[in-house]
């Protein structure tokens, strides 16, 4: 520990002596200190302006949708009425009480946007997790064992690849809507199905990587030391695929949020009164409402666009940062 601290100090002092270099490249860095691959990736990532913008949008979205509901007193399905009359405050324009106005049911749009964001982001992460879980296990097994298991799993991948995604999600959405369960719970089933349908891409990439890694010396070494296959796959092979997985997961998150929005927009995803950004746009399906009360649907659309864009910026930046061929 002490030696490390000393070295750190030394490095710091070294840096102070050296004049600041505007565009240090890797070779000059390596001369005065050792850069781990992780630091290198981090450095490349932070140098990309778009990914920084993406990161800040994401931080904002997380604060907005996970902290926001804690701060506000309104609940997402609270119907506001005028005090003296028993009338619902339909389509109130933005005001001090309702920052984004109210929608056709007299509910506060701002609060619904926050809860909607919570649902969209949660769905994204859960689905990506399910996809990676299935994809890594099946892809890893297929790549490692090859032959019969490989053939079987790859045919399964082919079958799942050919199932038309949107139509099937619509049908599943219709089935889930009729199930006798709590309206706020049915989204979990949808997440599971989306994950079940979407793992094939990840399985393919994991398999392809493992096929090429399996022949390398370090894998021969693991075999020679007599490690169990499961340990060799998940401890030695899969970590080598993690950079690609992170990139796919980030880019996939955006795609899943888009799909959820489209499903909810068509009325097959998240069901009102539970809000989601997609079904908030669906709620205003007549053109005169669209025209007269833009605050009820435009913010939701822009939040979808911004969030997905941010995930794409970050994913793109990560891909460039992980790619050793990209020099800047």
């Amino acid at each position: 520990m002490a030696a490390e601290a000393k070295e750190l100090k030394l490095r710091k002092s070294n840096r102070e002596i050296l004049p600041p270099q505007p565009d240090e490249d890797v070779s000059s860095l390596a001369a005065d200190k050792i850069v781990t691959p992780g630091q290198l990736v981090m450095k490349r990532f932070l140098r990309n302006k778009l990914s920084l913008i993406g990161m800040s949008i994401l931080v904002f979205m997380f604060i907005f949708s996970f902290l926001g509901p804690v701060i506000t007193d309104y609940s997402y399905s609270q119907v506001f009425k005028y005090d003296d009359l028993n009338l619902i405050q339909m389509y109130e324009p933005p005001s001090a009480e309702h920052w984004m106005g109210t929608d056709g049911n007299g509910m506060d749009v701002m609060t619904r946007l926050m809860y909607g964001g919570r649902i969209s982001l949660t769905i994204g992460f859960v689905v990506v997790f399910v996809e990676i879980f299935i994809g890594v296990i099946l892809g890893g097994v297929a790549g490692f064992y090859g032959r019969f298991l490989d053939g079987l799993i790859m045919r399964l991948v082919d079958i799942f690849n050919c199932i038309p995604f949107l139509p099937i999600m619509l049908i599943v959405g219709a089935i889930v809507n009729e199930l006798d369960i709590d309206k706020s719970k049915n989204i979990y089933i949808l997440m599971l199905v989306m994950g079940l349908l979407g793992w094939t891409g990840i399985a393919r990439i994991v398999r392809g990587q493992i096929l090429s890694l399996r022949e390398q010396e370090f894998m021969v070494a693991t075999e020679a030391t007599g490690l169990k296959p499961s340990r060799r796959i998940f401890k030695h092979l899969v970590p080598n695929v993690i950079p690609q997985l992170i990139v796919i997961a980030t880019l996939g998150l955006g795609g899943i949020i888009l799909t959820e929005a489209a499903l909810s927009f068509l009325g097959f995803g998240v069901r009102p009164p539970v809000p989601s950004w997609g079904n908030m746009i669906n709620a205003v399906n007549q053109s005169y409402i669209l025209k007269a009360f833009p605050w009820t649907w435009i913010p939701a659309g822009f939040l979808i666009l911004l969030t997905v864009l941010a995930f794409n910026f970050v994913g793109d930046g990560l891909r460039d940062a992980f790619d050793p061929k990209m020099k800047r």
């Binding site: 199932i163 599943v172 219709a174 089935i175 025209k291």
Partner: protein, 324 residues
Amino acid sequence: MRQYIIRRLLISVIIIFGVSIILYSIIRAMPVNYIDSVMRGNPLITPARIDEMKDLYGLNDGIFEGYFKWLGNAVKGDFGNSFISGQPVLEDISSRMWISFWLSFISLIFQLLIAVPLGIIAATKQYSRTDYAVTVLALVGISMPGFFFAIILQQVFAMGLGWLPLQGMIDARNHQFMTTFQQYMDYLVHFIMPITVLTLISIGGLMRYTRTNMLEVLNSDYIRTARAKGLSEKTVIYKHAFRNTLIPIVTILGGTLPSLFAGAMITESVFAIEGLGRAGLNAISRGDIPYIMAFNTFLAILTLLGTLMADITYAVVDPRVRLS
């Protein structure tokens, strides 16, 4: 090569078989029942009559029985009659397919005309302002929810400015009195917004793809050779590099060809275009089992054909690839 294609096609048959089993069991689990939804609220219909109707439509069969009945007929090329229109499903599909095809085909041409040049410019000026602008445009296209963009276009150009028709394919009042040329123009005017939406939401992928491939080509040795020979930058980029970038682009184009027929569900339904996608959505919400089955099987076949065509064009265009 021929052997490879035959083997792939045989595997495809097995895959389609697997897909159709999954599809059928999911579809039969649907809560919407066509007979129930049509007969609902009709006081003259007795339960016995409903049961009889369900027998007639094959809705009383179990999943296995129903599936093998469907499969037996489908193998013979008979996909049954659509519950909604009463016509053979294949006729329904083939009549709507071309509307969807023209919509996506025109959009594809626009995508190519915009995405390929922009992708190449972005790659030649890597990390410049232009590159950033193209990247942002591409990612905005990828991230844009199609339905949201469609509604905004409708608000601005149809409701606000009144330049374009809101939805539909023809001007219902005047279409029949028009000359043939005017009728085509009428279609065209109605197609402007849907094509814009389709182009924007799918342009990003192609642009990124072109840029990545162009970058790869620009970093290769033969480009360095061309520059070392003293060729002008224009010749290097538009003659040597561009031709090699075309290889992967042609490949994915081969892959998209079948999917042109699939129809765009969301765009078509927002703009009320009578293509395959809108009909599919309608069939799903009303429980038209024969149509849904045929439509989804059709989509699965298109996907398989797409990957096969991509692989074949790849081998044809790039002599280094050997199919085995």
